[in-house]
């Protein structure tokens, strides 16, 4: 069955130079395991095609049931030189929650 991430997790994103990070948070261990299996850095990179120009790294943080993604080249050069309305990438987190995964 396919489910959209917004129904499985919550998320926050932040900026540092031209990199953004998005952390997604699972409500329990079983959901965390599904996220860890499905939400791979490759899938996240493909999801953000047209927004992110660089690579995507993933860090697992099981002690708080979280996955942390670092998106390189995510902010049109960085918040202070970006032309975008969302210059700080604050809404990249909700954009990731659009992703559909197999549960």
């Amino acid at each position: 069955m396919k489910k959209q991430l917004v129904h499985l997790a919550h998320a926050r994103s932040g900026d540092k130079g031209d990199k953004a990070n998005i952390a997604i948070f699972a409500p329990d261990r079983a959901t965390y395991d599904i996220l860890a299996r499905e939400v791979t850095p490759e899938r996240v990179r493909a999801h953000f095609d047209g927004i992110v120009t660089g690579r995507v790294e993933r860090f697992e943080v099981p002690n708080v049931l979280a996955l942390n993604f670092v998106l390189h080249g995510a902010l049109n050069g960085g918040a202070s030189r970006s032309l975008r309305s969302d210059a700080l990438g604050k809404s990249l987190s909700s954009a990731l929650l659009r992703m559909e995964i197999e549960v």
Partner: protein, 454 residues
């Protein structure tokens, strides 16, 4: 076991200090640590300083303290603030004058040595390349356009100021979490090689440095369930000698402190959680444990640390052209189609009049201005309204300003049913950020701490 309580001050220059009042009044805190400097704040301050050499610090310093000191002094609360920006000495001078006028006899400490713009040649002469940390690019490409260059200092000089009796410590650029680590080290006597305790201190600082982002603000979970955001409380940490901490907030304030609100802040702007590098310790967040122990109370323990890195991070900012932007709104029916036609007309006219920006961004507010290409195209039918926003990047300010003048004629000569034409603003100067590294000894050699009273 001894413990101390620290309140979060501002999370950025422009944040509200009203919740800080609640923390002082009802939060039983001994310190307020306040972060006024985002990555680009120094560029704003540099512009102020170019107009007036006495400026260069954040202008909220005196009004904030004038408002908080009546309560703070009666509760014995001390302040640690990076409001000194590019001019901590100027900030102190202004503050001491204000304190004299208001009748406070408080000692004000200053930490200097973070600003390295004037020392870049010397650093290079000592073999520091100053190459871009991520791309490896040569700093010569931006050297002439640099506005500021500041090293992120650690907590040690702040502790020195507190040890010397400062009631208020003013700094320029320091690692945000160091503002919070300093009073912990000062009060609890932690050693500088007690990596696990230092790591706990940094985690506490990181949880508190963005004010209400730890207490239910900007919460990506069930935001509807967060009570009374209008009176949100800022986080307060109680930290014990062994490093254990409880994060809470003042009674009677809005917001929430929970496992969910705190874990969102824990990873905010973090890259590798197993190596969160700070000037004082290399923090591993993956070993820590967070547990709700009561309403708005979360215990945080078990962060571990490794020795501090041998380099310090410098962030420099350089002028990087101008952004011109303009908006115009279109009403139902077919609002998006009208805005798209307007965009086509403007881009055509830009080309024909020789306005050739380095980059043009077209966004439709109400449709895709925030999610960009990820906006759902199935939802465009029958939108009530859509605003076209065009933004351009130009090396020359005059070119950037030309965009705005192309928009008004659309009112009579473009598609029908407009509203909200008038989004033409002065071109905004853009700032490139240049992160780089330098051996810490070369930077720390120049750190100076002094404490003065009115």
């Amino acid at each position: 076991m001894k413990s101390i309580r620290i309140a979060a001050g501002l999370g950025f220059y422009g944040d509200s200090w009203r919740p800080v009042k609640a923390s002082i009044e009802r939060g039983n805190v001994q310190y307020v640590a306040s972060d006024h400097l985002a990555e680009l704040t120094l560029a704003i301050l540099q512009k102020g300083r170019q107009r007036d050499a006495r400026l260069g610090y954040t202008q909220d310093l005196v009004p904030m303290l004038a408002d908080l000191l009546p309560l703070a002094t009666s509760h014995g609360v001390k302040f640690i603030m990076n409001a000194g920006g590019l001019n901590p000495l100027g900030a102190r001078e202004t503050l001491l004058a204000a304190l004299r006028k208001l009748g406070y006899n408080l000692k004000v400490g200053v930490v200097l040595g973070d600003a390295v713009l004037d020392r870049l040649d010397a650093l290079q002469a000592e073999g520091v390349s100053l190459a871009h940390m991520d791309t490896g690019a040569d700093i010569a490409t931006v050297r002439a356009r640099l506005l500021f260059a500041s090293a992120y200092l650690g907590a040690r000089p702040l502790v020195e100021a507190l040890d010397a009796g400062a009631d208020i410590v003013l700094t320029g650029r320091v690692a945000d979490a160091a503002l919070f680590l300093a009073p912990l080290v000062h009060e609890l006597g932690w050693r500088w090689d007690d990596w696990d305790r230092l790591a706990q201190g940094i985690v506490v600082g990181h949880l508190l440095e963005c004010s209400a982002q730890a207490t239910g603000g900007n919460f990506g979970g069930d935001w509807r369930s967060i009570p009374d955001l209008a009176h949100i409380g800022y986080p307060i940490a109680e930290v014990w000698e062994n490093g254990d901490a409880v994060i809470t907030k003042a009674p009677g304030t809005g917001g929430r402190v929970s496992f969910d609100t705190l874990r969102e802040q824990l990873l905010y702007e973090v890259h590798d959680p197993a190596h969160y590098l700070t000037p004082d310790v290399d923090v591993d967040m993956t070993t820590l444990h967070m547990e709700e122990i009561g309403p708005d109370q979360v215990r945080v323990s078990g962060a571990s640390g490794r020795p501090a890195p041998s380099t310090l991070k410098i962030v420099a900012g350089y002028e990087d052209g101008y952004m011109g932007q303009a908006t115009i709104g279109y009403a139902w029916p077919d609002a998006l189609a009208k805005a798209q036609l307007a965009a086509q007309i403007i881009t055509q006219q830009m080309a024909e009049t020789g306005l050739l920006p380095e980059e043009t961004l077209i966004e439709y507010l109400g449709y895709n201005s925030i999610h960009g290409p990820l906006a759902d195209p199935a939802r465009v039918d029958d939108l009530n309204e859509v605003y076209l926003r065009i933004a351009i990047r130009c090396a020359d300010k005059k070119d950037a300003a030309r965009l705005g003048r192309l928009l008004p004629p659309l009112g009579l000569s473009g598609p029908p049913f407009i509203g909200g034409l008038g989004g033409m603003t002065e071109p905004r100067s853009l700032l490139g950020i240049w992160p780089t590294l330098a051996p810490r000894a070369i930077i720390e050699e120049y750190i100076r701490v002094s404490v003065e009273e009115p």
